[in-house]
Symmetry: C2
Subunit: 230 residues, 2 copies
Amino acid sequence: MTLSTYSKEDKIFLAVDCIIFGFDKEELKILLVKRNFEPEKGKWSLIGGFLKQDENLDEAATKVLQHLTGLNNVYMEQLYTFSKVDRDPADRTLSVAYYALIDIAQHDKNTLNEESAKWFSLKDAPTLIFDHKRMVERALARLRRRALTKPIGFELLPEKFTMRQLQKLYEAILDKKLDKRNFINKFNSLDILIKLDEKDMSSSKKGAYLFQFDEEKYNSKVDDGFSFKL
Amino acid sequence: MTLSTYSKEDKIFLAVDCIIFGFDKEELKILLVKRNFEPEKGKWSLIGGFLKQDENLDEAATKVLQHLTGLNNVYMEQLYTFSKVDRDPADRTLSVAYYALIDIAQHDKNTLNEESAKWFSLKDAPTLIFDHKRMVERALARLRRRALTKPIGFELLPEKFTMRQLQKLYEAILDKKLDKRNFINKFNSLDILIKLDEKDMSSSKKGAYLFQFDEEKYNSKVDDGFSFKL
DNA sequence: TAAAAAAAGTGTAATTTAAACACTTGTAAT
DNA sequence: ATTACAAGTGTTTAAATTACACTTTTTTTA
């Protein structure tokens, strides 16, 4: 076994691109950047980076996220690897797409200085470079499936949220109206939320109770065979 | 835009590895090969190959499958990209895993000469090189999910099959016993099978009617909003 | 200060879907 | 003619999902 074991094979550039989802009151948004290098400089793009020889993909994606948002501990999942030969006109490059869910509010403070990054609602996002549009579509499809089977919605909300906010979130993800009572009954039956004594007064005179995801309880229920299913 | 646009970035070897599933009467099997090059020469491995500069991943995976099984038009799906830095001791290599479903019977004829390839039932598969075991686990998990929401089971069966064979297949995939009547009722209600006038006499004196997947009907139902759900 | 407005909060009945369950039929072998 | 073996076939019960409307709380305004 020598250093040249695979020396007859091709080596290829590997990019990591992130679809960063946020949620803002009523709708899903994605975070895009104005590309500041060629090719396609100045066009809107997913945020990305290249994979280094000495890091794995999760690390590369984490780095990209950390760099743009200043956030660590972000929910993140590998999505798909895009490999069309001419997807990047500059050079042969594969891209491994990741998607991430962040609490848009937490992020806002940090990013205001980032001139080149901007949140777009999914509906009116600009034209994206390369195959990034396909990446977003695939990410959205994955998010929809995942949201029904894993409690990942909370990643998009502040730690404390009202049932109404939670419902609006799911309505945005699934792109359909849900029945208020059925939604609440469903979540109550799952029994993974903590009802706080605090109320959110920002959206009504009466105020709405705040809830929190009880991750510990969720985990122990999972250990006992429970599985989240909306 | 010059040829050296990305010249400061690293290039990396990219492998494609295939988890090939087959079904043999009662159980799921995977096709493995004895690796005939270093490192780990002589050990059991998934079948794989390297990605060339001028092909995309699907093409590379198709080539791998075609080469080993002699089959074209195989059901195949990209699974996940494995990137641990030291996953291949010989050199830094990423591997994009694909899984494929083939009719084991169709394949048998072609592969008998292939000395180094062998079918193993999932339970008693040998130790695999690198991270191939994880790949198989992930493929199996994906197959289980997929089989419940897409009519892909048929890819593992001959064109004509009995309801009992179909049931055994799903039992193998899901690793649990199913009720005969409920299973048949379910498939009948989906209304995507053609009942033939032929019988299979190989497993009983009475003989069992053969069925066929009606792909055309399925597709047109999908166009009308139908979705397969077992 | 009574009425209107605005969002929060709450339960039940109807429908649909999934699960449990056992006997009869047809044919070859003895 | 009897036995053995897998094929084939419906109904009942339970569980999950869906549809649906009024009351509460508090502020604003007439």
